[in-house]
Amino acid sequence: MKHLILGAVSALALTATGAMAQDYPSKEIAGIIQWGAGGSTDTVMRAVTPHAEEVLGGTVVMQNITGGVGAIALNQVAAGDADGYTLLMGAENPLLYKVMGLGQKDYSDFVPVNVLARGTPILVAGKDAPFDDYAGMLAYIKENPGELRFGSTGPGGLPSVVTAMINAVEGEQDVIFVPYDGDGPALTALQGGAIDVMPAVLGAAIEGIKAGAMKPLVVFEEEPVEALPDVPTALAANAGYDKYLPWGPFFGIFVKAGTPDDAVAKLTAAYKEAAEQPEFLDLMKNRGFTSLNLSGAEAQTFLDGWQSTTAWLMQDAGLTKSSPEEFGIAKPAE
């Protein structure tokens, strides 16, 4: 008797889940954005999602859950059900949580739906800086050790990675790091003369560069970028950068590992199509982002490669709390 009831219940449960997967999405989907309203991640997610909703035939309600460099949002989604009704909309930061001691979970607990785009790092200087190019900056640092003020956004942020790259390629630079909440406030400080140089993402700096409010020194790309064709690349300045490029912050959409394949497939298809919309592509181009639109195995390879390069770069710069080896993050191939 007991067995019969149990059997009936589990059969019922099976049909129920079966039906749910078939009808996906049968209810509202929650999109948890790791970063605050108005930031790059927020803008990108709010721009791409309406297109995906159309394909999906459902609604995605987005909310910003901030704090702990995005870890609060990530942990919340990881603690929820793997039913495809909660999406994590995030940036690159979680891939460094483990080595930076910021959390025990990262994207390896998730399945990538889409890695939408990648940003280009650029080094910009204030318009009154006593040098005009990358070589000039290095010479200035050599002549005035400990004087030049770099903006930073805390360990694991883009400036810390770019600075680690510069130190790895050019040797240790003696400069001051002035911490800011993000590249927006730091670029404001750059224009006010509170800092001299800022490693930023191209999209955040481009309007200021066009207006002459800041000087571009070098873009961290292999080829010159379309938006600023005259700015030299890091690779042209020093071939040593070859080892690390292309590198950049990225935006991606994830679901918890264990989500039914059907839901993952539907979400993947929806976001893939959404990320091909000309309006979205224009927006990405205007903000200086390189569209990637990666999903499935391609996305996973991208994430693994990114994590390996960056985690080991931070490790070699002595900025990590634990070695990438402890978490099984492979050393990048030489």
Partner: protein, 505 residues
């Protein structure tokens, strides 16, 4: 000529006009409910208006912004619960007025003065945006630090009877603000390795708890006293009244525009600074401050609405947000294919004039919606307490949850509510706690930025202060305001200015 037609776009297009009206109306009510914030409403609107043209989307957002900043004063006056951080100072004199049965007058003055402040902000935005933003950019970390110290000194104004208890409250607020991941190095501070402390204590939760729940608990003492009947004979203040407060409101609006234009400071700090300024310059207030002084309403309300225009100044001229709401609007402009930045004014001046026009229209609608429906609103205060108290509790819980969709915030809110009740009972003022929380980060971050920039050398730091005119003025202001609160100054003043002192008595 193009500028003029762009400016009048909103006035001539019925659809845009009604969108601004709708936004302003919604804003007043969103602003009035503690925890439902303008920031939240505008970010939801980004997805909602995604497929719209840029003009209607921006028009709606501007309406919500303007209405919401004003709306915070409603609940501050009627229930002693500021609907938004920028209305904290409004509660200090507005609620005592409501308790005297003058809620109608208080709302009337608040509305007209918000309108006035809003206009000053818009005028400065329209006429002097580039020079104001250049000035705002010259603020270095050490200047922000000095500004924060100046803010901390407001404790004297917000303390009421005991300065010592005020200082204690302020210091407690600073401590609350420190909890969580240190934003500059990502090291946990006062977290005791508890996950719930890791992301810090939400300042909105503290505010709602301290003002909302503690008010509801305090009201339990008066269950059997009948509600105060409100006189609503004269809502629109007379021209004479407005004229009387004109000089003060001009000064406080200026404070509002400048603080609003500075990236990183907004209407909340502006309103508190303006309140302090009013207390300092008003020799004969209509009633003592804290007991229902009209000046105590005029100052914060002009300042926080002037800060709206102020916040648009760096946004329009440099693409730098002046506060949290303009930060989201920059995102909205991006999504709609514009490139906010220093070139926006050059390449698309129409957008600038369209925004100025929308602000003007929103300001007028705010006046209209503010002055109508007051009768209904004041009924809230006349409600039986058995209805009112559960309603306050409900709003507080919803508000605390809605800010970050976090149940932890609700627990924090309730804990601070109980704590606030006991602080109130023992005469510890709550205003300074909130002041401390608001200024904690500003002070902490900028002090560290300033000293790191000077290679951690105090000598270089002070050399920087003395050689920069702006820093020097702020530094002298800090010293003067600090000194003016000591008994030494009172004695000195009594000896030097006996006649004037006599008159003030």
């Amino acid at each position: 000529m193009d500028a003029l037609s762009a400016f009048f776009t909103v006035f001539t297009d019925l659809k845009l006009l009604s969108l601004v009206a709708l936004g302003t109306f919604a804003g007043v009510y969103i602003g009035a409910i503690p925890g439902l914030s303008v920031t939240m409403a505008v970010s939801i609107l980004i997805s909602f208006t995604f497929s719209w043209d840029v003009h209607p989307a921006i028009a709606l957002m501007i309406g919500i912004f303007m209405g919401g900043v004003y709306g915070g004063s409603r609940t501050a006056i009627l229930l002693n619960i500021p609907g938004a951080p920028s209305a904290i100072a409004t509660a200090m004199d507005g609620y005592p007025m409501a308790q005297r049965g003058e809620a109608g007058t208080a709302i009337g003055i608040t509305t007209v003065m918000s309108f006035f402040g809003g206009f000053i902000g818009i005028i400065v935005l329209a006429l002097a945006a580039p020079s104001v933003s250049q000035f705002a950019l010259t603020f270095q970390p050490r200047d922000y630090m000095l500004l924060a110290i100046l803010g901390i000194l407001l404790v004297g104004s917000l303390s009421g009877e005991s300065l010592v208890k005020g200082i204690f409250s302020g210091a407690f607020g600073i401590l609350i603000g420190m909890v969580g991941m240190d934003p500059l190095t990502f090291t946990g501070r006062f977290t005791y390795d508890l996950p719930l402390m890791q992301s810090g204590i939400s300042f909105i939760a503290v505010m709602i708890g301290m003002f909302g729940v503690s008010e509801a608990l305090a009201q339990l003492h008066h269950l059997d006293t009948p509600a105060i009947k409100q006189k609503i004979t004269r809502i629109v203040p007379s021209f004479g009244t407005i004229k009387k407060y004109l000089p003060l409101s001009l000064q406080t609006s200026t404070i509002g525009v400048i603080i609003g234009a500075l990236p990183g400071t907004g209407g909340d700090i502006a309103a508190l600074m303006a309140y302090d300024h009013a207390k300092r310059v008003t020799r004969k207030p209509s009633r003592p401050f804290g007991k229902g002084a009209i000046e105590g309403l005029v100052a914060p309300e002009t300042a926080n609405n002037a800060a709206v225009g102020g916040a648009f100044i760096p946004m329009m001229t440099l693409g730098i947000p002046g506060d949290a709401v303009t930060a989201i609007m920059i995102g909205a402009l991006f999504i709609h294919g514009l490139n906010p930045g220093p070139m926006l004014m050059v390449e698309q001046p129409d957008m600038f004039w369209f925004i100025v026009g929308s602000l003007v229209v929103a300001n007028f609608f705010m006046l209209i919606f503010g002055l109508t429906g007051i009768k209904l609103f004041t009924k809230v205060v006349e409600m039986p307490r058995a209805v009112l108290i559960p309603m306050i509790m409900l709003l507080s819980i919803v508000g605390a949850y809605a800010t970050n969709n976090s149940i932890t915030d609700v627990y924090w809110m309730l804990a601070f509510g109980v704590l606030g009740y006991f602080m109130r009972s023992y005469g510890y003022p709550l205003g300074p706690v909130i002041l401390g929380v608001i200024l904690s980060r500003l002070l902490d971050d900028n002090w560290r930025r300033a000293i790191i920039s000077e290679r951690e050398d105090l000598g270089r730091f002070f050399h920087g202060i003395v050689t920069s005119p702006l820093s020097l003025i702020l530094f002298l202001a800090v010293i003067f305001i600090f000194f003016s609160q000591t008994p030494l100054w009172t004695r000195l003043k009594a000896r030097l200015l006996p006649a004037r002192n006599e008159e003030a008595r």
